[in-house]
């Protein structure tokens, strides 16, 4: 690990510790309104001030960080699992199965990803409780975000298909399911980790974009995207620089995720 990677990993660990202890650290519940002090500046009671509805910004930031940083890795795990199963099976089995999987992947990659999410979200109800909106966002990103990973995993699995150790395992009577699980999967495991890791920053950014557009996590549940919605009036933010904290935190986290895994050439 290079020094930069160490610093990035350390920063990520600290931020994850922060969200674990969020409930102890927060001054107030994220939805509680202090109606006498809307739009307040930083003070000892509200270290980051309050928003237009009088809600404590630090509490919302901590809870929002928790929502975003649990949502993105969970969705990344789901999409990597799907990609791992589909990709390794397609590459290993070959034939019509591989052709179908790759064709479906190509078709869905032809559409821009955010547009695909938008289209699917349009089919689902919009006025749902906040918790349901979090689950919808998680399922959408998890179930629709596997395409790029499938191609990489499938290509590598195809390379393994004709290798000698698989020939040996086959000739000693190994069943295909066992071959896939005990012979192919361990070889591809580093690739799975890499794809999982690459997906996380992508999903953090996607959640932010969706929530800013009003199609992700719904109010009053905070998430990074929801907190960034306040930026629409940028001149107010320029006058109150402490409102930039959510954006700075998001940029730091995404950059750390990118730095920890340096050699990536995924275009998305």
């Amino acid at each position: 690990m290079s020094p930069v990677q160490k610093v990035a990993a350390l920063a990520l660990c600290m931020i994850f510790a922060l969200i674990v202890f969020a409930t102890i650290l927060v001054p107030a519940h994220y939805a509680r309104q202090f109606r006498d002090v809307p739009n307040a500046g930083p003070s000892t009671v509200h270290p980051l001030g309050t928003d237009a509805l009088g809600r404590d910004s630090l509490s919302r930031l901590l809870y929002g960080t928790r929502v975003s940083l649990l949502l993105a890795p969970a969705a990344a795990l789901l999409s990597t699992l799907i990609a791992a199963v589909l990709g390794s099976a397609a590459g290993f089995l070959g034939g019509w199965f591989e052709r179908i999987v790759l064709a479906v992947t190509d078709i869905s990659l032809a559409l821009p990803w955010l547009f695909l999410l938008l289209t699917v979200r349009a089919m689902l109800p919009l006025d749902v409780p906040p918790m349901a909106s979090v689950i919808i966002a998680f399922l959408m990103m998890g179930l629709l975000g596997w395409q790029a990973s499938v191609r990489v995993i499938c290509a590598t699995a195809r390379g393994v298909r004709d290798s000698d150790f698989l020939l040996l395992a086959r000739s000693s009577g190994c069943k295909p399911s066992r071959l896939l699980l005990c012979q192919v999967a361990p070889i591809l495991r580093p690739l799975f980790y890499a794809q999982f890791w690459i997906s996380i920053p992508l999903f953090i950014l996607t959640e932010a974009n969706l929530s800013i557009l009003g199609l992700g996590v719904m109010e009053p549940m905070p998430s990074w995207g929801n907190l960034l919605r306040g930026f629409e009036d940028f001149s107010a933010v320029a006058a109150n620089p402490w409102r930039l904290v959510p954006l700075i935190l998001l940029v730091i986290v995404v950059m750390c995720f990118q730095l920890v895994l340096p050699s990536q050439e995924v275009i998305q």
Partner: protein, 231 residues
Amino acid sequence: MLHEGLASFYFHYLSALAHGDLGESDSLKRPVRELLAQRLPLTGNAIIRGLGVAWLAAALLASLGLASRGWFYEASGTAVSSLLLSLPSAVVAMLAVHLRAPAFSAISVVVFPRLHRYMRSLLLRSYDQRHVLAARARGLGSFSIFWRHVLPLATPPLLALLGVSFAIAFGAAIPIEALCDSPGLGQLAWQAALSRDLPLIVNVTLIVCLVMLAANALADLAGRAFAGDTQ
């Protein structure tokens, strides 16, 4: 529209489509064909201008960073592109609104870091090849190495990147047009999603699919023509 069921909706939609009728938008109460004809040129214009700026900037910075091999260009180029990569495109759009910048500049800011990172690693790999080392040993100048030994090998992946960059640009155009209030196709898709306007979103999907397919096919053809040229 959905009350009659999805299957019957698609049947009616496809039979109307065969007659060249794209149907009527539920929320805007106007023919979809008219809406698309109005919005498509605007988005196309913004995407092409945005992509032009982004490609120029990315190519310039990536080749300057490699040609100089100096740590300053390298570090600053990488720092700028990874900082821009970490910004959600919606935030870039809000910044553009604040600075009163046109929508295409926001698109180029979103697309640029992705192009720059890919080009940089592509050029790095091309410069590491043995024939480049051999050309260096023969004493060729850095310009002729770049032009005659690096670029020909790097062109096919770059052409493929050109196809992909259209998809990235359109993906970025959705939040940018929605927030910059630029009445293009991206904004239309966003409005259709918010108002659950099925006929509109189906047609927008169709158009976007066709455009992306055309862009990728063209890039593919150009790549093949180029490979045929060099062989």
